[in-house]
């Protein structure tokens, strides 16, 4: 049995369980096992660049130790992605990178639903580093803390209104959820806005499963 390791670099059990639930459909009968783990050493949520940096060491240690056939870093800042690629046994996928690449085949211009405004400059640098800035319609923040995200109704309302602005003002025709823990709202949001919505962890785990299946 091949194994895909999904590391949630924060310590939240609730977020980890939501991730586990959202990737369950990708679990293949018999030949791939998807293991979702959390980093007990991580912060409860990753809200600034310093939080990002702080999880990198334990994350790398975990990926190195697990020797999985493929690995997914389940935080939208893709912490330690390039270092993980140096040391991992199998390929490594970041959920932001995978989400953006997936969105590029589902629409003409993508919009990112960020949680907090301070992550927008990081997203812009990342899209620049990926060389896909010309396809980004916009990036707008919900203005919610990771804690606020626990309130599903409030989160959904903000997703709808910020998503509508990305679609109508910025011209996005596909949206990306800029956080690992909002998968349960993806389908409702896509229906509400009538454009595709990419859930980043699902996107990355799908890529990891394909890599394992194809032996790449």
């Amino acid at each position: 049995v091949a194994r895909v390791l999904v590391v949630n670099p924060n310590s939240s059990v609730a977020v980890t369980e939501r991730i586990e639930a959202c990737v369950a459909p990708l679990q293949r009968v018999g030949d791939i096992r998807i293991d979702v783990v959390r980093l007990p050493e991580g912060p409860p949520g990753i809200q600034c660049q310093r939080d990002v940096e702080q999880v990198v060491q334990p994350l790398l240690a975990r990926i190195e130790a697990e020797k999985a056939d493929a690995n997914v870093i389940a935080c939208f800042s893709d912490p330690g992605l390039y270092a993980a690629r140096e040391i991992a046994h199998g390929p490594v996928f970041g959920i932001a990178e995978s989400a953006i690449l997936t969105a590029l085949s589902r629409g003409s211009r993508f919009g990112i639903l960020a949680i907090l405004p301070n992550s927008i400059p990081r997203h812009l640098r990342y899209a620049g580093a990926m060389g896909v800035l010309d396809r980004m319609a916009g990036d707008r923040a919900l203005g919610l803390t990771v804690a606020d995200l626990a309130d599903a109704d409030r989160t959904f309302d903000r997703l709808c209104s910020v998503g509508a602005t990305l679609r109508d003002t910025d011209g996005a025709d596909v949206l990306i959820l800029g956080c690992a823990g909002m998968a349960h709202l993806r389908e409702r949001l896509a229906e509400h806005l009538q454009i595709p919505v990419v859930e980043p962890t699902q996107a990355a785990v799908a890529n990891a499963c394909a890599a394992v299946t194809l032996g790449w």
Copy 2:
């Protein structure tokens, strides 16, 4: 059972069988069926822009009629991709688009192994339209006709030497096979050159299976 339709827009039975073989590992037990079909109305091979244009009408008709849950256009020029998206029942994936997006998560700069030199300007336009030109290291032609590709040894020799130039002179650290019919050489080539090699039909079918599985 959900169904992924893979249309090879040329009429070659041999190429169609090679495509069928290469996507077999993606066939899930029980819940996805991958149907690979050829276009009897298509030319034996697609070697110029006019060939590309010529297959679009029968290809669109087939995709519209089949009403599959997801669709793959298995020709590296992605003929009719955007029109197919207007009329198809489910999402549509082009193998060139999927291959390029897949390569972007497996290396820093990709190189394309084109079959004939006259397709290079098309690839450049396509990478420009996709907004990913900054990530393209180079595009070099094998200088083989579709007929020449039947000779596996000769094809492999050319793949190795052109691939080495893309890697060493142009700086590619991931390669893309620029044709639907070379999947059987992918693994040997990756081993020979020691960098990842993306097979475009596998990349697109993996994306199509993920879309169906996740209900996107």
Copy 3:
């Protein structure tokens, strides 16, 4: 006498006559003849990507058969342009490509007056493929069907209001009419908005005439 062939790929006699009228000033005494023809096999108007694809085969056949000294494809989606260049006797000009290139010498940032919203993603891909996206200020749709365009007053009102938005909100200082059939409104619109307005068929036919005259 050298000959420039202008093919309107839809079947509309009225549009063909408007094209003929607008290029009349470019007709040189004695040594260039401009022939404007329509495609009887084409649809009455080209409103979606599928319509675009559908006209390519008869268009290529016509261009190949006519053996003109230069050729113009008079539809703003430039259907079959690159295939036509493979098979035509003389050079081939697309009206969208020519309009964009002409606009680049008449202003700092161009805006496109699209007819329908669904053509905007195509325009964005095209400007990306042309490598000129940094010069595009915006692309906004009139929201009129090809049939609506028959009402000149309504069309002009929409051109004025959408054009003003492109100028004042998006920063365009030159506009492009995104359709072959609005030449009769060009001058009034330019006067109303006080910025240059490029009519695409005139732009392309001017380029074709120059190529013939110079023997390029």
Copy 4:
């Protein structure tokens, strides 16, 4: 009779006569007159950025005084182009800008045949300012002084060998002559290299004539 003014900003009578000869085919019977003038105050040739700057004042004065219906600045550094547009009676075309825009419809990637190496950074800045850098295959210098250009055979030999490098090493499929005085060699060079070659003054004067004819 409408009038197109072509100003050669150097003082060379020979270069001015060559420009006059090359635009003669564009002279329309009866309704456009093309006047080619030289700047007696200009240097014998423009070989560095300081030469470029030095001709701007007399050039602007001449264009302002002439009140032509359209204007062409016949030096490949397009000196004073944007200032001329502020003060001229009719539109103003620079030969570098027009040549690059013309090349974009005749090939996939253009190469520039510069005279001296010190103009290459200027060309790169200009293509960047025009937003068309992704379409530039390369820019290589003949390494000839403006004086050397008087020797047609030597110039042609250098054009052939540098042009072949642009085509074969850099991937250019259309070339631009980077100087106003080499029109007499254009056709031979295009035949020798079997790719289109754009002569910049012809390109700009063709644009100027079209603008006048169409009343833009």
Copy 5:
């Protein structure tokens, strides 16, 4: 004692004195002398492209004659910058170039506070020529003449409101004063808007002093 020459290319004594005041803190004890001079031949203010071109000749003459160890051209259109680099004794810095490069290390996206709307196309061309357009959030004009700038309160009000639009609508997180004569308002503006504000002459003189100190 090494010497940095700062040339204000207009003839205004008041502006020259303001420049002198703003660079005073960079004056090192003992080993660098900063000389700020005005061009008596220049116009009272530089408000259009023609004004830009007009100052180039006397500016180059002055820089060539002074033989300073480093040179600063203190006008936001960087007139004659590349020609000055050909002829100057030491390195030459333009205040627009230096301001933009400085801003790139102080924020994610910069906004330019232009004086007049007609300079915006020039700024766009310049950012394109510099290859940094992806980092420009916006460019908006105060709509004040150089004369209006004498009224500090009115100028400050406009800076605050236009700066707030650049920050809140365009997403700029660092601003650039698009003129040499507003240094006295920099600190108040940065405090008012709570984002860094770059004063271009200070940026360029700092670079010039560093170059001299380091012997580059």
Copy 6:
């Protein structure tokens, strides 16, 4: 007395002393003190992405604790730069960012002299994130370990030959030393190659001193 903190994130005393020597000329009499410190917790040299990640935590802790008026991170991978900006008392400068921005005012296209080939993809991502990829001529590795760099003659020979390739093959007209410890070779290299060479720590410390002096 204002204070600029320069942190060498590796533990090497020798490298720290070389950094101290190279920034000595920027030490102002009386009002700025430049403190160069090493991270005892860091590795002896930073040779891969994992080394980069590993130094971030102690580096951030040090910068936060020191409360300097400006800060410089003296490692060419700019580890933790954006996180440091969130927590530092004064502005923070990365030596790679500062070197690239400095190079942009000293030449048309820059080349980077990397130490090891595995850092080239990181440099490409970084230039992409900075939005300056169009100005990068090339990036070539010396193929020396940090230990090899102790041999000044061997290092200089490699710098000369790799630098000549960047200049002559890739078209760079300004070079950047891609490591904090080669300052002592800068001047000789610039003389040997006859193009400017930017030393990154000097570039960043100059920027930090200017920021402190100007109160930005």
